[in-house]
């Protein structure tokens, strides 16, 4: 034997083993390449055939009877079960089979567990999630569920279905993102469903600027408070028409002079995307061509892949409903059944208030409350971090709620400010959807939504009976006038909310004379509503929708689609004439004529809206330069308040550009802004609006290869077609409730969450084109010959 030869070849074999080992483990951000790339268990297993069909038959443990599922050619499942347990079990199983990774990452996000999967970069985000008390809120909700309540039973059946799917998976079957990030799915629980609902609540209740307004008053006095942050009630076009009389008997008289406002400045919380919003409306039979009510809804949320919505049709004895669901939650959230249709927009009401806490010392064991030292409660938040030791955060809980931050931390966030937030209270929003899915008339709709507390929503309704209605439903605090706008002193109960507005006094209207109901995140009422409320509201989409619906008659579904796709820029029609009229005479450019000729339509292939939006952005930035001169966090007045300031009082000191010696006025700052915008516009090669806006639909895990970029879209924020750069109509639905229900809808995404599936993003192109799909709604017999595939789920 040749020993040298033997050892050298043996060494080569060891090198091979080391090679295997190195490719079997991840390196920092590089996944385990051997695992990921090989054809047997790697990503190639996720390459779904173009002619993919769901398995014909599956044996599932946990079903009581067999369930038939038809998939249409867009992969929408139509589930026909023999009882409700099996219906929600099947919904859980099938939703997980298309969207498992999304379901888990969204609930990990709500639980403050992203660092566990994605590493230390997500730690500060997880800490903020936990300090906001999101996992705490979900635990409170789950603890409060009555184990016999139908909502809890539905959640349990759904959970069992999701887990049946998870348990059926081998590592080679894991969704692609698990393989790229190198982890495995964990068991689903009802807590995760509760977390998802809190995740939505957090996304939709950020409508406050308490810290910024406190800082504004401290920095500039309150002279301009109303002009810059007020509501301008004279042009508010509320959800509930102004002719309504309110029943004011039960309202306590309240004195705001007792309010203790804190002037301690603080950094604000991260705010939700200002593009978030929604439209919904319903028109009465006497305004439509066929004499049937028509309902429309388009929620504007962050557009992602996989999309936030999953389309589904649920059928069992006593229930037949279709619409979009949230992956992770049983039931249909926005949709219709045989008798009614419903939709939601965000109420935008302020249900988050901040209280300044005076702790005894840096240990924070006790805080001043009602003249005494009260004990702080602590909640330990252990945050696991990928590749590192866990981090434990200690969150102080006071009478008001969690102290979101304190000075010991290198954390940008409010200092010793406790958060009172309705999302922390026990509630059972799922009951609303469970009941809405089966509701058949106005009475059952009102009963269904009475379970809905947070986030407050405007529930629009139409029924086959010919009724239309809208109600703003949620748990809203009774406030002293002005309360909740600024940071309050937390050492006295005087600053506490004065209870909650009784649900039957929430703004509501049934069959108004004008023949339609609508909402677009504007004020729910005019100023005669007896309760004070805060919030951040829309002022343009609502006026456009109402003025259009007012004029329309003989309405068809096509008309409603056109209205959802309407690109009229009301704000530009207010601001641009003023801007053009106040350009200094030496400003000359061919582009000025283009703007003068523009019809205020933000169409993707027009150049004028691109230049206008650049000019407006630059103007807004230059006018409010004062706000950037201070260390404290301030909020720019909104687009609406800025526009109204120009319309009402353009002579004010904020027109000055503080970095120059001269005193500028509107003509100066406007002309400067035009020059800057024009330079940028020309530099970019005079793009059209779709190109300039460059809408994108991002993968939830921000993997660029799985997203869509530079999507060429019309519309913008404050326009009925509210397609902004990152958020937009995440589900467009129009339903006519005649003898048979005629439903249409589309969302920017696809049913499958798998980037290797032909159903991953197949709706996007049609959505950009403003197309709608005819939604298949009917019995198993009616649909069976239209289905792309059918599947039987059998009890094992």
């Amino acid at each position: 034997m040749n020993r040298i030869k033997f050892f050298s070849y043996f060494l080569i074999m060891i090198v091979g083993c080391i090679g295997i080992w190195q490719l079997d483990v991840p390196h920092d951000s590089i996944p385990a390449l051997g695992r990921l790339l090989n054809p047997f268990t790697g990503f190639w297993q996720n390459a779904e055939p173009l002619d993919y069909k769901p398995e014909r038959e599956l044996n599932l443990t946990g079903l009581e009877a067999s369930v038939e599922v038809l998939y249409d050619d867009r992969l929408v499942p139509h589930i026909y079960a023999q009882n409700e347990h099996d219906l929600y079990f099947a919904q859980g199983y099938i939703t997980a089979s298309h969207r498992l990774w999304q379901m888990e990452i969204q609930t990990h996000s709500a639980a403050g567990r992203l660092s566990e999967i994605l590493g230390p970069n997500l730690l500060s985000r997880d800490r903020m999630t936990r300090r906001l008390g999101l996992p705490y809120a979900a635990e409170v909700a789950v603890d409060s569920y009555d184990p016999d309540s139908p909502a809890f039973l539905a959640m349990q059946a759904y959970t069992a279905g999701v887990n049946e799917y998870i348990n059926s998976l081998e590592p080679k079957d894991y969704p692609l993102e698990y393989k790229i990030l190198g982890y495995a799915p964990e068991e689903w629980t009802p807590l995760k469903t509760a977390l998802l609902l809190k995740y939505m609540a957090n996304m939709l209740t950020g409508n406050e600027k308490d810290h910024e307004i406190t800082n504004f008053v401290g920095t500039f006095s309150d002279t301009y408070l109303e002009a810059f942050y007020g509501y301008h009630w004279d042009i508010v076009d509320p959800i509930i028409p102004s002719s309504i009389n309110w029943n004011t008997d039960s309202i306590p008289k309240m004195d705001s002079s007792m309010l203790g406002l804190s002037t301690v400045p603080g950094d604000p919380m991260a705010k939700p995307d200002p593009l978030l919003g929604s439209n919904n409306w319903a028109v009465a039979p006497n305004k439509t061509a066929n004499g049937n009510p028509i309902l429309a809804n388009d929620p504007h949320l962050r557009m992602t892949l996989p999309a936030i919505w999953y389309e589904i049709h649920l059928n069992a004895p006593g229930i037949n409903t279709y619409g979009v669901s949230l992956p992770g939650t049983p039931c249909v959230i926005i949709g219709f059944n045989d008798d009614i249709a419903w939709g939601v927009t965000n109420s935008s009401r302020d249900v988050k208030d901040w209280y300044k806490i005076n702790f005894e010392d840096s240990e924070r064991q006790r805080y001043m409350f009602e003249g005494e030292w009260a004990d702080t409660e602590f909640r330990l938040e252990e945050i696991k971090i990928k590749g590192m030791e866990s981090y434990t955060d200690t969150v102080a809980y006071t009478y008001w709620g969690p102290v979101v931050s304190h000075p010991n931390l290198d954390f940008s966030g409010p200092k010793d400010h406790a958060l009172r937030w309705t999302a922390h209270d026990p509630s059972n929003e799922l009951m609303t959807f469970l009941k809405l899915n089966k509701a058949s008339n106005h009475e059952t709709y009102i009963d269904a939504i009475s379970h809905f507390e947070c986030p407050g929503q405007n529930f629009v309704f139409a029924s086959k009976d010919g009724d239309i209605a809208i109600k703003q439903q949620g748990k809203f605090p009774i406030l002293r006038p002005g309360q909740g706008r600024q940071l309050q002193i937390g050492s006295t109960k005087t600053n506490e909310w004065q209870g909650y507005i009784p649900f039957d006094e929430n703004p509501h209207v049934l069959n108004p004379l004008r023949g339609f109901v609508s909402s677009a995140n504007q004020q729910p009422t005019d100023s005669t509503y007896p309760y004070f409320y805060g919030g951040i509201y829309e002022h343009y989409r609502n006026r456009r929708i109402n003025s259009q619906l007012e004029q329309m008659d003989n309405i068809t579904m096509d008309d409603m689609q056109r209205l959802q796709l309407d690109n009229f820029n009301w704000q530009a029609s207010d601001a641009l004439p003023l801007m053009l009229a106040h350009l200094s005479p030496e400003m000359e450019a061919d582009e000025i004529k283009m703007l003068k000729d523009w019809n205020y339509m933000n169409e993707a292939d027009l150049q004028a809206p691109a230049l206008y939006e650049m000019w407006w952005d630059s103007l807004h930035y230059n006018i409010w330069d004062e706000f950037r001169a201070y260390e404290v966090a301030l909020a720019y007045p909104s687009i609406f308040n800025t526009t109204e300031m120009l319309r009402r009082d353009m002579e004010n000191p904020f027109m000055d550009i503080i970095s120059t010696v001269e005193q500028e006025d509107f003509v100066d700052v406007n002309s400067l802004s035009f020059r800057q915008a024009l330079d940028a516009f020309r530099e970019e090669g005079a793009p059209d609006w779709g190109t300039a806006k460059a809408t994108f639909i991002e993968h939830i895990g921000r993997i660029p290869a799985f997203g869509h970029y530079n999507v060429h879209c019309s519309g913008n924020k404050h326009i009925v077609n509210a397609t902004g750069r990152t958020a937009g109509p995440s589900w467009r639905m129009v339903v006519e409730l005649g003898e048979t229900v005629v439903p249409r809808g589309i969302y920017p995404g696809g049913q499958s969450g798998n980037p290797g599936s032909p159903y991953f993003d197949n709706f996007i192109e049609d959505w950009v084109d403003g197309q709608y799909y005819e939604l298949l709604f009917g019995s198993e017999e009616e649909l069976s010959n239209k289905a792309m595939a059918s599947q039987t789920l059998k009890p094992e």
Binding site: M13, G16, D24, P39, T41, A47
Partner: protein, 122 residues
């Protein structure tokens, strides 16, 4: 031609055994046949390297190409972009690299170890 027979036979055997093992063992299970077959076939180390590489290349490529065609290259194009590669073709080549190179190394060492036992002829 006769000289090429062991080379191809070994490659095909490695491919078939690797396929069988992949049904219940991890992705790297090709290492066993890649090491053993050249050892048993008494291949020259260089020939063994090529033969073992070829075997795994054939196996992996056939599975990958089948999946990619059925999928219309939807996923391979996205994964190519994820890896900063310009085409699905390049992600296919990248995908088989770990298997091909490692298999070659095991084939080389298997044949070499066998050689180190045999007496030098002539």
């Amino acid at each position: 031609m006769k000289k090429l027979l062991p080379f191809f036979a070994s490659a095909i055997l490695i491919a078939l055994i690797s396929w069988a093992l992949s049904l219940f063992l991890p992705w790297w299970s090709f290492a066993f046949p890649a090491l053993l077959i050249p050892f048993l076939f008494k291949l020259k180390p260089g020939v063994a390297f090529l033969s073992a590489s070829l075997g795994v290349a054939l196996l992996w490529l056939s599975f990958i190409i089948k999946a990619d065609i059925a999928n219309g290259s939807i996923l391979s194009e996205r994964m190519a972009m994820l890896f900063g590669l310009k085409s699905s073709f390049l992600i296919i080549i990248t995908s088989i690299l770990p298997g091909v190179v490692l298999s070659g190394i095991f084939g080389l060492s298997g044949a070499g170890i066998r050689r180190s036992f045999s007496r030098r002829k002539r």
